[in-house]
Symmetry: C2
Subunit: 226 residues, 2 copies
DNA sequence: AGTTTAAGTTACTCATGGGTAACAATATAG
DNA sequence: CTATATTGTTACCCATGAGTAACTTAAACT
């Protein structure tokens, strides 16, 4: 530990030209603060943008709108973000980390498949309260750029795949009935993602009741077993 | 039957000014053909537009794109449609009629609530194969115009309400277990509407299997009852 | 201190695309 | 066969909004 001097490269602001910059010792508080502040601001911008996108939609929200929410002018945004679409991409990154984190946590527990699935659902409903995640869910698939679109698709597939694995595990250990894991995983995500479009934490609907209803639906269905 | 002469009014082309037009006896083939042709063309335009919206999204699809799909020029569209948003509204009208029609059919049968719900699901999955309906599902809520947005919301609420009624009926007659009908109805719609985003009739996934999996999920859930 | 980098501003460009005006062709009715 | 609606076209206008260039202010390291 101590005073390790890291010298590296950083991709500069607007992309295009890549500028070589000697990074000074990040051990010093002031140095860290700089990067920290930048991260905080980026995060705030994402939050504002995500909120605006959720309220008015991506295309009806201008960069000026977002800038104003953040009390800066449009060009400033370009210091933190490559372009408008990049906002969605960055939101997706955040979402990817959080959802995969949840999956890590869930699959790490030595429970049977069904319980893991329950735990995932519980955690997911928690997560999709966050504006950035909601924004990602709503706008995934709108990527203009081919590469970005493919990356998005891939990451989405990955998550879906992990949930499918949980379901398969459940069928193996006997905790989940025989079913088409692909379809069930998709249906589950459709329902859960749908929640993110209408559920408000501040609303009158209690969070715990929502989770209960979802879990009951998934476990038992709605048919009355006399 | 016979030669009943209907004289009425028609809302003219571009809205704005409402022009009174005496309709000539529609018994004559030529008279009918005119209106018929117009309707057919409007329908074709909606179809083309809906398909394009589904593929590229509403905002990335220009009116020129739609016009081209129909082998006409942009201004011609304005003869059939008030403006871009009006396309969505007209799609919604089509969707409303079809979905409510399905509900009429389903609720007319003297079955218990659960069976009615099953029948609705079966019919709904059928319906959401249609591009116009898919377009409506995906773009409902994007209305720019306040009045249009409210109308859209109202119609959507209406449909959701009818499904809730079915669920309540099922709880009354004992065919559906006790649950929060509001939440369950919404979750059901989220899952079903989600299907419209990815399911292709031409795809490898068999329609009947999809319906089976959905119905099983709704009836039994996924937990294995040993 | 004084120089460098970060952070932000004002003032533009420029493509896109919705919508319209005015004109042209085609069909229908009388 | 001519007058009148009905369809359609070409050629525009113009608002909007993404993205950039060039310049200014604030912060930080030596």
């Amino acid at each position: 530990m101590g005073n390790n001097i890291v010298v590296g490269y950083e991709i500069s602001k607007i992309g295009k030209k890549i500028k070589k910059i000697k990074l000074t010792k990040p051990g010093l508080k002031s140095g860290l603060k700089r990067e920290e502040k930048r991260q905080l601001k980026l995060d705030a911008i994402l939050r504002h943008a995500a909120a605006a996108f959720m309220e008015k939609g991506y295309y009806k929200t201008s960069l000026d709108d977002i800038a104003q929410l953040h009390n800066v002018t449009k060009p400033t945004l370009y210091y933190y973000v490559k372009n408008k679409e990049d906002i969605l991409i960055k939101c997706e990154d955040v979402a990817s980390v959080r959802i995969n984190g949840l999956l890590d946590q869930v699959t790490a527990c030595a429970e049977n498949g069904f319980v893991q699935l329950e735990n995932f659902i519980r955690g997911y409903v928690e997560i999709i309260t966050d504006d950035i995640i909601r924004c990602h869910i709503r706008h995934r698939g709108q990527r203009e750029d081919r590469a970005a679109r493919n990356a998005s698709l891939k990451m989405h597939r990955g998550i879906e795949h992990r949930v499918r694995e949980i379901i398969i595990k459940g069928m193996d250990d006997g905790s989940i009935r025989d079913c088409n894991s692909t379809i069930i995983a998709i249906l589950l995500f459709d329902a859960l993602n749908g929640i993110s479009a209408w559920y408000r934490d501040e609303g009158q609907l209690n969070h715990e009741e929502l989770v209960q209803q979802v879990l009951l639906l998934v476990t038992e269905g709605v048919k009355n077993k006399v």
